[in-house]
Symmetry: C2
């Protein structure tokens, strides 16, 4: 009963659950606190107010379809909320939240039909019949989130009404979609990974077999063709034949997670390698600096290779969550540290970005460039999903807020894992790690103000007599200047896993020093949208330039003229203000930036913080001053080398 | 009865119809021939085969809605075909086409109901009731195209069954949507301009008043809000208060045409100036080099200012046609030559681009960049509109092919106009112009191989005793080297209208020499998508780099290293082949183009020709080699200065 969303039975790394790895302070503790005090309650109250929870009551009372509210997949958002509550109760034992959970679960399970079917949108007189719209109906997708909620509850508490309802539903799915049943899949992948996890948790091999069937059927065209093409729901190419992720980004990432799970549990190495290859190309060519995916608003989909426009970045928060799911599974399967790098990138720059500082509004999409100040939606307004130019309290399609909630509530599970005799520290936060690798119990206390500072101190509190083996992740961005200091002896550390040479003993202190100073990042020259631009990162944080709506200059009116550095005002970078010639036709002979002053130090902020102070303009990628063509001279101040 | 789609009663310029201005040879004559021999018949046979024409028969025979095919707006495509046929019959008198027209019109008018209502999608048992879905139903939009067809017929032939049916339909619209009727508008603007034109043609002032009501209601939120927002159908801001065009590009351009028409006929100068300002900003900030508009696939809509991605350019063919409609009306209203420049740009780079060389397939969207070779749709396949990566024979939404057909069939109308005693030559083709300005009849013979060559020779065949005044357009791109030669005396000519100093007499020869050699074009530095890239134009033609799918190097693997020039192989430009370092993460410290050879001359082709030789990669905007950062030296060949 490891309290982690994913507990594979095979693979290099064995995860530690929140019982054994507990965030104790710092960046992530604050976000978990925000989740506990604001986000979960916010999601609950919106879904109650809009009737999405009430749909289950209406089902019990025979008031469907007349009284149904919300989109066809609204049940799934309730399940994600239940999952978040289950993790949170497991983490804190909050009795009030526990009562709230029980009352919510009672309303849900009451709506389950005798044969296990559970969905408020289909199957009643006046509704579409069951499984009559696999392309868009989301019935199996909803089950997926039900199973994930049940996994969370089972791993933090044990069997209860929710878990039993999920078992009945899973049995029903196997009956209807198993061999000899409906030979198709859900338009929105999600159930695949959930079925494998539920098989792991319940021990029922039928659920794994059902996941395997869904994975094998995907890509064989069992779903109808649509205007976006079958790649929208990854039904264009069998998974093991695809070269790269494509179509709807959330669907692709959820499916990838399910394919990894299935490959791991069935020992299907060719499938694992196929997905590994797809993820590698996706990361190299179809991923934003933030880790986000989805370059197209239309179809919420990946673009082609190198097609990564900043301004139209869709980069849905849920695609970030799905990417974390996929990379976490690949990390556990292979033990390769770069997957943990991607999880870190996604946590700091997508998951942490979505919620407002007060936890009461959310980015659904995560653009990397806002040219004109947006409009802040009213606190009681339901926004269209992607049209929202700022964080919005709720969306007509509101998958993202509860997805953030369940991720934050289960964040402890990403901290550490074991392999043989070694404890692996994957993500850094002040925390306490208790593990039982081969050789004996180990307890580590981690102290750090990461990512503000780069020093991570690991104190060995408990270890076998002969000592313990530990490994710490050095991110790929820390390729110059990372050091491992063991009991005062400092060694150069390269990206990947760095290990003290000798076993560590009680009282030992291991310090990892990561170079978190700001650094310029250049894009691959094949990305047209980023040509002539640079970005700044500091440690795992993507930085951005933000200007309030009433600032005299917008972010468009600056050019980079030097290197970023830490200062008393945080990260600053020398920028030259520029102005532009106005033309009636924008494609003229020799246009140029027109420098309108000397370079000045301008503060950058972490991307996750942007948009918290009202309407603004924002850029992650900033154009570099074109020295040859600037119409006026400029000068770099003395403070910049 | 001027045979032109637009004949305003006010304004600086009075258009000549096809009776008086007739294309006689060259580029446009060949396209008109293609239209006559292939495109019109192609559209007719597809709409017959798919049952879109048969919908009218089904209406007569009481087989609706069971037997209806096509989208809700398919009637409008039949009307656009009828309009194309009407112009074509007027142009050529083709008796076979005339019979075909009469049979088609008979089938359409038979479906009209006694009160004038005519639509195959609404109003019958089992269908939505009339005008129950103004947002998406397109009923008024369909009438708009019916009226435009009737205008074409009336101006080339006179009253017939089609014209009488259109009168009944227009009377019906005025009754239902006039003062005291339904206080709303159509989700797809189109009827506004059509009603004004029909008022001009029939003399019935009610039609103008109805157009005025639609124009005034637009932007007051009479349509429901939708996920795209009301800007999708320009119902967000009253027309006279808007700053720029936005939302669905075709709708915006059709509406603009209608607003100009209404302003002209009602003497509403503030409305005219509001739209003039919107068009100016749209041209300066939201228009592609090709003249195309629509930067977003989602909502087929404009992007924000400076948001003009090449790869995701939507640039719908119909938006190009709508832009020509808007600019032609503004040209006639103001007499400003730059509007004719835009029409020329749109004709050569959008209208001429859409149809394949054989006239049997069409671009719906007109991308400026294709990174991976597409797939050629089968000749008998109906394609989704935007997913089609190549020209397709037909689309589920097939507005574009018949829009191209009606534009080509009425192209003569764009050649020339008169103002007072002066004949204005707006567009250049070998042609014969017969006009009656103040002072007496004038006949001009124009000879040119433009745009291949830049020499346009105008011979005065008929003129009053005292001579005639003529004006010729010098495009804005011809700002260096244009010359006007009058009877052998050569003068420098600047962009705008250039006029021989003295009246011209019978036997005189006026030659305009335009510098059509290839030239580099730079983008405004605010367009992120084009930073560090240049394009090549030659005369009015946008050029592009195209590489067949089986070429060793794709268009991505070249960098511009010099100036383009004419050669025996057409336009060539020195390009350096480059290769790229492969990384698992695309945002690394110091990526660079890696020059992999010396510069070589590579041929460019006119953009309108691309995609005619099977799957290929294509770029209009080409990256410039970054001299400072190229990893290897390169050299420009001797032939390039």
């Amino acid at each position: 009963m490891t309290a982690s969303p994913v507990v594979p039975s095979r693979g290099i790394l064995t995860p530690l659950g929140s019982q054994n790895a507990r965030i104790a302070g710092g960046f992530w503790a604050e976000l978990q606190q925000l989740n506990a005090t604001a986000i979960i309650g916010h999601c609950y109250s919106w879904m109650e107010r809009l009737g999405w929870i009430g749909n289950f009551d209406a089902a019990v009372e025979g008031r469907l379809p007349a009284d149904r509210t919300g989109r066809e997949f609204s049940d799934s958002d309730v399940y994600k909320l239940v999952e978040a509550m289950a993790w949170e109760i497991g983490r804190t034992g909050d009795p009030e939240l526990a009562r709230s959970y029980e009352s919510l679960v009672a309303r849900i399970v009451a709506a389950q039909e005798p044969d296990g079917y559970l969905n408020t949108r289909f199957g009643r007189p006046g509704q579409g019949s069951r499984y009559s719209d696999l392309e868009w109906g989301h019935e199996l997708y909803c089950y997926g989130h039900l199973f994930q909620a049940a996994v969370a509850r089972s791993r933090t508490h044990g069997e209860d009404d929710l878990v039993r309802a999920a078992v009945r539903a899973a049995d029903h799915v196997c009956e209807i979609f198993g061999a000899g049943g409906i030979e198709s899949v859900c338009g929105h992948p999600e159930i695949e990974s959930a079925l494998v996890e539920f098989a792991r948790e319940t021990g029922d091999p039928r659920y794994l077999e059902q996941a395997r069937l869904f994975i094998e059927r995907r890509g064989t065209g069992t779903l109808a063709d649509i205007e976006f093409g079958r790649e929208y729901f990854q039904d264009d190419i069998p998974i093991r034949e695809a070269e790269v992720l494509r179509g709807h980004a959330v669907r692709a990432m959820y499916l990838t997670a399910g394919a990894i799970d299935t490959a791991i549990e069935t020992g299907d190495d060719p499938l694992l390698h196929a997905v590994e290859h797809q993820l590698e190309r996706t990361r190299a060519r179809r991923t934003y600096l933030t880790g986000g995916t989805g370059a197209h608003h239309e179809g919420e989909s990946f673009g082609g290779d190198w097609e990564l426009p900043s301004e139209r970045a869709y980069s849905e928060t849920c695609a970030g969550v799905g990417s974390i799911m996929a990379y976490q599974r690949m990390l556990l399967a292979t033990g390769e540290a770069h997957y943990a790098d991607m999880i870190e990138r996604l946590l700091y720059n997508i998951v942490a970005t979505s919620p407002a500082a007060d936890g009461h509004s959310f980015f659904y999409t995560n653009t990397l460039h806002r040219r004109s100040p947006g409009t802040v939606p009213a606190a009681d307004e339901v926004s269209p999903r992607a049209a929202a130019s700022m964080r919005a309290p709720w969306f007509a399609v509101s998958c993202c807020p509860p997805n953030v909630a369940r991720t934050l509530a289960s964040l402890d599970a990403y901290l550490a894992a074991i392999d043989g005799d070694t404890v692996y520290l994957q993500q850094y936060a002040s925390s306490r790690i208790t593990a039982a690798p081969e050789g004996g119990a180990v307890t580590l206390e981690v102290e750090t103000d990461y990512p503000r500072g780069g020093r991570i101190t690991v104190r060995v509190v408990e270890a076998p007599e002969v000592g313990a083996r530990i490994a710490l992740r050095v991110p790929e961005w820390a390729d110059e200047g990372a050091r491992l200091v063991v009991n005062g002896v400092s060694l150069d550390a390269q990206p990947g896993w760095v290990r003290p040479a000798a076993p560590v003993r009680v009282g030992d202190s291991v310090v990892l020093e990561l170079p978190v100073h700001p650094r310029l990042v250049h894009p691959d020259p094949r990305i047209d949208a980023l040509r002539g631009q640079v970005a700044v990162e500091r440690g795992p944080l993507v930085m951005c330039l933000e200007r309030a709506a009433d600032d005299q200059l917008s972010v468009e009116e600056f050019r980079v003229a030097g290197e970023p550095r830490d200062s008393d005002d945080g990260v600053v970078i020398p920028l030259v203000p520029v102005s532009f010639d106005e033309h009636t036709w924008p494609f003229v002979g020799t246009p140029a930036d027109r420098a309108s002053g000397a370079a000045i130090d301008v503060a950058l902020i972490p991307y996750y913080q942007w948009g918290n102070a009202g309407p603004s303009t924002m850029r992650v990628w900033m154009p570099v001053l074109d020295h040859d063509r600037a119409a006026e001279p400029y000068q770099i101040p003395d403070s910049v080398s």
